[in-house]
């Protein structure tokens, strides 16, 4: 209420803020990223539809690396820990992040899970996001790179339908290519054309977890990501220890 003249008007003030709405998540992601960089750990955010083959590709990755790299994984899952169990059976040190009904992982879920997974000696940490081509694209987790899986069975135009997800991909793994002979209407060229319309500089590999095709190239891509950045100063003071 305006009290100076008693006119009865309420006193409305516009405040210019210009603030990123997800700045809290971005701060936590920067914090995670710093942890990863100071331990020279390559963290990869693995995204894709339910059933695109995220877990299968990670199993094939562990098999191909055959102990040459120490691998860990955080598996985001709505309701089960099936993926973490499969990853553990493949020799990956894995922890589930059960999200309940939440559709994506955020940086604080990852940070919390790191308190339960001994990670500091790992070479690679795969963060297997919730199967979803929309929500996970919005949240930085502190990863070094985003890898998006696209199974050939999903259709050639998925990148055009979910441009945000594919635009954010540093690498697309076109998966289940062993099925191509059974899919006469699906063309790898048309999938790549869709990628080129949402990714200015598309990087992709065609892989099959079942036959192992393309897995060596994927392993080589991972090795090329290992020394991309040196540790930067810690973004904020922090005294808690991680296992």
């Amino acid at each position: 209420m305006c009290e100076s003249c008693g006119c009865g008007d309420i006193n409305l003030v516009p405040i210019e803020v210009q603030q990123r709405i997800l700045s809290n998540n971005e701060r936590t992601a920067a914090h995670n990223r710093h942890h990863f960089l100071e331990r020279s750990l390559l963290a990869i955010n693995v995204m894709g539809s339910p059933g695109a083959g995220k877990t299968a590709v990670l199993e094939a990755t562990a098999c191909a690396l055959d102990g040459r790299r120490l691998i860990g994984a955080l598996a985001g899952d709505l309701a089960t820990d099936n993926d973490a169990q499969r990853l553990t059976a493949a020799g990956i040190r894995a922890e589930s992040i059960t999200t309940g009904s939440a559709c994506h992982l955020d940086a604080s879920m990852v940070h919390h899970a790191l308190h339960h997974l001994p990670w500091s000696d790992l070479d690679y940490l795969f963060i297997e996001n919730v199967g979803n081509l929309v929500c996970p694209a919005v949240y930085d987790l502190g990863q070094a790179a985003n890898v998006v899986l696209l199974a050939v069975t999903e259709g050639e135009d998925k990148p055009l339908k979910y441009p945000v997800m594919f635009h954010k991909a540093d690498l697309v793994l076109i998966s289940k290519i062993d099925l191509l002979p059974h899919l006469p209407d699906i063309s790898l060229d048309r999938i790549v054309d869709s990628l080129r319309r949402v990714m200015p500089n598309p990087k992709y590999l065609a892989v099959s977890a079942r036959t192992g095709q393309g897995i060596d190239e994927w392993i080589a891509w991972l090795a090329g990501q290992e020394y991309v950045a040196d540790a930067e100063p810690h973004p904020r003071h922090h005294t808690h220890a991680h296992v």
């Binding site: 209420m1 309420i10 006193n11 409305l12 003030v13 516009p14 405040i15 210019e16 803020v17 210009q18 603030q19 990123r20 709405i21 997800l22 700045s23 809290n24 998540n25 309940g100 009904s101 939440a102 559709c103 994506h104 955020d106 929309v134 929500c135 694209a137 919005v138 949240y139 055009l160 441009p163 945000v164 997800m165 635009h167 054309d193 080129r196 319309r197 949402v198 990714m199 200015p200 500089n201």
Partner: protein, 120 residues
């Protein structure tokens, strides 16, 4: 039907938005918030309609109860990373003139621009 709070990420964005607004309102000693202006890019991954639905559910019985969410949608704009020429949306994202990859100049914003609040 109102979607359940967790099945779309717009609810989690609204939670972050509310936290930011409540913190500014407390700092100003505001009695109520009357409007919010946000800017959402077409390539941000946030659906303005779902954001509005989530906001209307979330604001009930808060200091923002009477505050509509005014959303400015920012169109995606691609330009050549070298010569700056526009690259049409939906086209292969390479400059027709010089062959360099395009970059997204605008359209990925998720921003709280302005809060209109009632102060004593």
């Amino acid at each position: 039907m109102v979607p359940s709070p967790d099945v779309m990420h717009e609810y989690s964005i609204v939670q972050s938005l509310y936290d930011a607004v409540a913190s500014h309102a407390a700092r100003q000693g505001a009695k109520a918030v009357h409007a919010l202006h946000v800017r959402i890019g077409e390539m941000s991954g946030v659906d303005p309609g779902l954001l509005d639905t989530a906001w209307k559910t979330f604001r009930v019985k808060t200091i923002c109860e009477a505050a509509p969410l005014e959303v400015e949608i920012v169109a995606a704009e691609w330009r050549c990373s070298l010569c700056g020429a526009p690259v049409r949306r939906g086209a292969v994202l390479v400059c027709a003139a010089c062959g360099a990859p395009a970059t997204l100049k605008q359209g990925d914003e998720i921003l709280l621009d302005r809060i209109v609040m009632e102060v004593p």
